[in-house]
Structures are given as C-alpha cells and as structure tokens.
C-alpha cells in the first residue's frame, strides 16, 4: 500500500459491511465509501480535474467529508479543507492562494457558497449543491454524482510522493500558509499511529478535529487503515459538554483523541459521572499542554483507560509520544516523551549548533510524516529546515519546530514552550509559560494566558487573563499575592483580567495574538 485511497479500497475488501464512518444516526460502510468515492473521482475527472489540481472541501462535519476526501484523492488531486467557521474573506484568500477551480460541499453551506463565489473568479464547478440563482458557477448535486457508473480504469495513477492535502494555518505574519502533505507522509502517519496504539477493526475512533486541523488524519486515515470505525463528533457537541459526554458514551468510543480543551470541558461540565465510559481504552491528546491538575482528575475518573500525550506541529503532523504510566503526583507539566517510529531529532542552540545534554534548545525533527513544504513559498520552506550535509548533494533534512525542549535524565523530551515565548523584559529573562503554569496552580483558575502588551513610548508590560472555573469567584488581589509567593517580582503580571472564555483558533487552541489585540483595546 502506498497511497491514501488504497486504505479504503483494502478495507472495502476485508470488511465490506463494517461501518467506516459514523455521524449521529448516519453511517457509511467501507463498501459504500469505496463506491461513492470512486463515483466522485469519476465526476471530478469528468468536470476537468487533473492530477496535481487542488480541490477544496467546504463542509460541516458529516459523512460526506469522507466521500469528499477520498473521492478527491482518487481523482489525482489534493484536497484543501476550508473551515466553515472561518470568515468568508479568509476562505477566499486560501482558495485564491492555491488556485482552486473545483469545490466539494454540502447543502448546509449554501449561504457561504453564495458569498464565496462572488469573490473567487476561477471557480469552475461546485459539487454537492443544487443549482442556485445567486451562484454563477456550474453546480453538480450529489444525486448526479451518485448516479454515475465509475470507470475505474480511467482514474489517474497516483504515486506516493504526489501531493495529497494542503492544510492552511495562520502564519506568524497573519497571512495563512499552506502546509503540503503527500500520500507518503499521510500514510506514514496512519501506519505509525495505528501500530503505536494497536488499532483494530473493533475500535471506534472519536474524530473530534476539524478537517483543516492535522489531527483529523487519525480519524480519516489511521482508523480506516485498521478497519476501525471513525465516529465523527459533530460541531454542536464540541461546544456543549453534556451532549459531548453523552455521545461518546452512547457510541462506545474506544479511542478519544482531541485537544486537551475537549477533555477538560467534559471533565468540568460534561457530567461524565452520569455515563458509562468503560469502552474507552486510549485517551490521546495533543496540540496544547494539558494542565496537569485537570489531567490527574480525569485519570482518577477513568482508571481503566490509558493516557498518552502526543506532540507535533502540523508540518510533521506528529512526532513524539508519552504514555502515562501512573497518575502524576505533582503539577509539573508531563513530558512530550520520545520520538516515534521512523523519526529522529536534534536539539539546536540559537547559533545552529547542537545543545549539550540537558540544555534547552529548539527541537528539529526528521521524519516520515514530514511535509513536502509550504505551498508556493520555497523561501519560507527553506527557512524552516535544518540541513546536515552527509555528502555532496545529499543532506539529512530536519524541520525546525520553533519549540523549546530539553531532555530530562531519562532521555524524555520536556516541552518548554514556543521559542518566542521566552522574552526579555527590563533586562530580565522571563518564561511566559512558567507564569501561566503558576496561575493555573490556583484552584479557582481553569485556564490562564500571559502575554506581553506593547504600550505607548515603547513601554511593554506583562498582562494576564484568566478564565475562572465556572461558578468560582476570583479575587484578583489574592491571585496576585498567590503569584508573589511563587514567582520573582519582575514576573508578576501588572494586570490580571477575568474573561468568561478566550478567543480560540478554529482548532480550539487559545488564540494569544487575538488576546493581545483585545488587551490593547481593553475589550476582553
């Protein structure tokens, strides 16, 4: 097996009637998914899609996402997920950036499609929607797609190094950058992850991540590789913890993989004691640091489940893991662990040399799940790489993560924060993450953010925002006193604001840039 659609074709042979994907009351078997993705590929090729094209997937979470992804891949194109929650202007800039001419959608997105097509010139076909007087592009409803008899011998040949998907993330400059992954990197992820966590055809893998966020590769590639069922958790349930808990329990999900926020919300507000979670065998989390006090509480509630911390930027999808052997006794952050299969790493100092043992530095990884590069941006790609010359014309190429790590005495990697989160203020070196960790030790604090806000006359100050536990009252003066007992005076935030929730990126991570902006205008 060397391409992503072969995952579905193989499982359709081995487990034809098994549910490949489920979403609430709907399900699709491997046999149906193979057939429908063949039909979509046929339709796309008929509409002019050629190998190497980029085709957008613009859908809320539903079964059609699976047909969309595998149909696009079989047509020889790469899929580009567009976040349905994003403002139209952002979606437009992504569609333009990678020259999308064909888009696959569902009826629920009709209003946004109307707006999109006004601003994107090059669109030729929209699949998944009936004709619309306000959309000046050819539309092809799903019924038409599913009435086709696909000619499998006419589908283009795909190589493992061909482009499979482009994930857009916010760049540091604010302009989205497209991370290109190949069939090879996607399939490597599926193989490594399903082996590491022992996926079988009996597993039900909770799929919490939106398509444009790299953890979605677990549900769409790793789960089907094992013949497991991927259970798509609808957007609505992610915002409403009691419904989320009820759904996970009802579906008897065996693998939970999400950002820590979903687990923390379930723990604090999801009424998990009311449900039976005995099916859960692995609880996996990545994307952010899981505050240890919440992790400990969850592990106590679910003693039968194993817990594992995963780490990796979208450029490599994932690269390290740490299985928790026991419930953590202190509030120290847990390690990100060791690199997984087919991966090696270096820890680099600022000047580009390697850090001695135990000394912090930037993590650089070389792995099978590495991206091809950034779409249409060779300079940015080259800047993100670290090359070690092996011979003339032959380098070992590492991706520089921008994350600070160090090795502990057991050889486990400890995550110390983004390299840009270590700042100098009035001559003092300050770790913003350390201040956040201190605030989180307070019992009334659910989440905390510490940032540097630029004031007038080059004045920079430390500001904190906290999201208190629901129903708890926080006395800011008392919280400052608490900080003073844990931190040097220069690391005490000048102001601490209370917010009922934080702005988040579409993947659920706290959006610090937005918080800084709001603090500047005092509207948090």
């Amino acid at each position: 097996m060397y391409t992503l659609p072969q995952i579905i074709d193989r499982s359709a042979l081995l487990f034809p009637e098994k549910d490949a994907f489920r979403c609430l009351e709907d399900s699709i078997s491997y046999r149906e998914l193979k057939h429908k993705s063949d039909q979509l590929a046929h339709q796309l090729n008929h509409s002019g899609v050629q190998k190497g094209n980029r085709v957008a997937v613009f859908m809320n979470r539903c079964l059609d996402t699976a047909v969309g992804i595998f149909g696009i891949l079989k047509s020889g194109a790469a899929y580009v997920p567009i976040d349905p929650f994003a403002p139209v202007s952002r979606s437009v800039s992504i569609l333009k950036d990678c020259g999308v001419e064909h888009l696959v959608t569902t009826e629920t997105q009709r209003q946004k499609i109307r707006a999109l097509t006004k601003d994107v010139d090059g669109l030729k076909t929209i699949v998944g929607m009936t004709p619309d007087a306000d959309v000046n592009v050819e539309t092809i409803p799903w019924e038409q797609v599913f009435s086709q008899v696909p000619h499998l011998d006419q589908l283009p040949g795909i190589l493992e190094q061909d482009l499979a998907f482009i994930l857009y993330t916010s760049g540091s400059t604010g302009i989205p950058k497209g991370i290109m992954h190949t069939h090879y990197s996607g399939l490597a992820l599926a193989k490594i992850a399903s082996r590491l966590y022992g996926f079988t055809e009996n597993d039900k893998v909770g799929t919490f991540a939106p398509l444009h966020f790299d953890p979605s590769t677990f549900g769409y590639f790793a789960a089907p590789l094992a013949g497991a069922t991927a259970v798509i958790i609808p957007d609505a349930h992610l915002s409403l913890p009691p419904s989320l808990s009820a759904l996970v329990a009802k579906e008897k999900i065996t693998i939970w993989y999400s950002v820590p926020l979903m687990l923390i919300n379930a723990l604090l507000y999801g009424e998990i004691e009311k449900h039976d979670f005995s099916s859960l065998r692995w609880v996996l989390f990545a994307g952010e640091v899981f505050t240890t006090k919440h992790l400990r509480a969850l592990m106590q509630l679910w003693p039968h489940a194993k817990f594992s911390n995963l780490y990796g930027p979208a450029e490599v999808i994932l690269c390290t893991y740490y299985h928790l052997k026991s419930i953590p006794q202190t509030d120290e952050p847990i390690p990100i662990g060791t690199v997984w299969d087919n991966t090696e790493y270096r820890i680099l100092l600022e000047e580009g040399t390697e850090a001695p043992a135990g000394v912090p530095g930037e993590l650089a990884v070389r792995t099978a799940t590495m991206m091809r590069g950034y779409w249409n941006n060779p300079e940015l790609t080259e800047r993100s790489l670290y090359r070690i010359k092996v011979a003339d014309g032959y380098d070992h190429v590492y991706y520089k993560t921008g994350d600070l790590v160090k090795e502990n005495e057991q050889g486990q990697l400890l995550f110390l924060g983004r390299s840009d989160r270590q700042i100098k203020l009035r001559g003092f070196r300050i770790e913003l993450d350390e201040i956040e960790q201190t605030l989180l030790k307070h019992e009334g604090v659910k989440e905390a953010v510490v940032v540097v806000v630029e004031g007038e006359n080059d004045y920079r100050k430390l500001s904190a925002a906290i999201n208190p536990m629901r129903g708890s009252h926080i006395d800011i003066r008392e919280l400052k006193t608490f900080c003073k007992s844990h931190l040097p005076s220069y690391a005490i935030p000048e102001s601490i604001e209370v917010a009922s929730d934080f702005p988040r990126t579409s993947s659920g991570k706290i959006d610090r840039k937005e918080i800084i902006k709001n603090m500047g205008t005092k509207q948090l």
């Binding site: 809320n60 997105q109 009691p242």
Partner: protein, 78 residues
C-alpha cells in the same frame, strides 16, 4: 426575545454579517456559532433573562436552533 437572540447572533457572534438566520436554522452544525460564540450566547441569555443556565442544560437539544433556545427558556411568544 426571538429577535433579540437573532440580532445578538448576527451582530456579535456570526463571522459574516451577510448571514440570514431563521428560528429553525442549525446554529451549531452549519458554521454560524463556534464554541466561543456559544459561551457568549449563554452569557447574553443569562443577562437578558436574569437567570443562570446550569451546566446540565447546555445540550444540543436546548441550543441547536433559536427555536430550541426559546422552547428551553419557555418564553416563546413568537
């Protein structure tokens, strides 16, 4: 109350001003409200109705559409 909720969603939550929102539209599944928007909406309703919404009531059944919210509040006067 219906118009108040719809206007609040349109002006304060929806990413795109052009969205038309009807009482039966799926707020959560179709990209109108994300999780931060949901928190804002709950706070808005608590303030407007001088009430506290309990954790266990924050369910899909109660918040899927404007109509569901009105039914939950028991204040549907059209």
């Amino acid at each position: 109350m219906k118009d108040k909720i719809i206007n609040y969603i349109k002006s304060e939550i929806s990413n795109d001003p052009l969205q038309d929102i009807g009482p039966e539209d799926d707020l959560l599944g179709s990209g109108i409200i994300d999780s931060l928007g949901m928190m804002k909406l709950v706070l808005f309703i608590e303030k407007e109705c001088h009430m506290k919404i309990n954790n266990e009531d924050m369910t899909v059944e109660n918040f899927m559409t404007v109509q569901n919210i009105l039914n939950f509040l028991g204040k549907d006067q059209g």
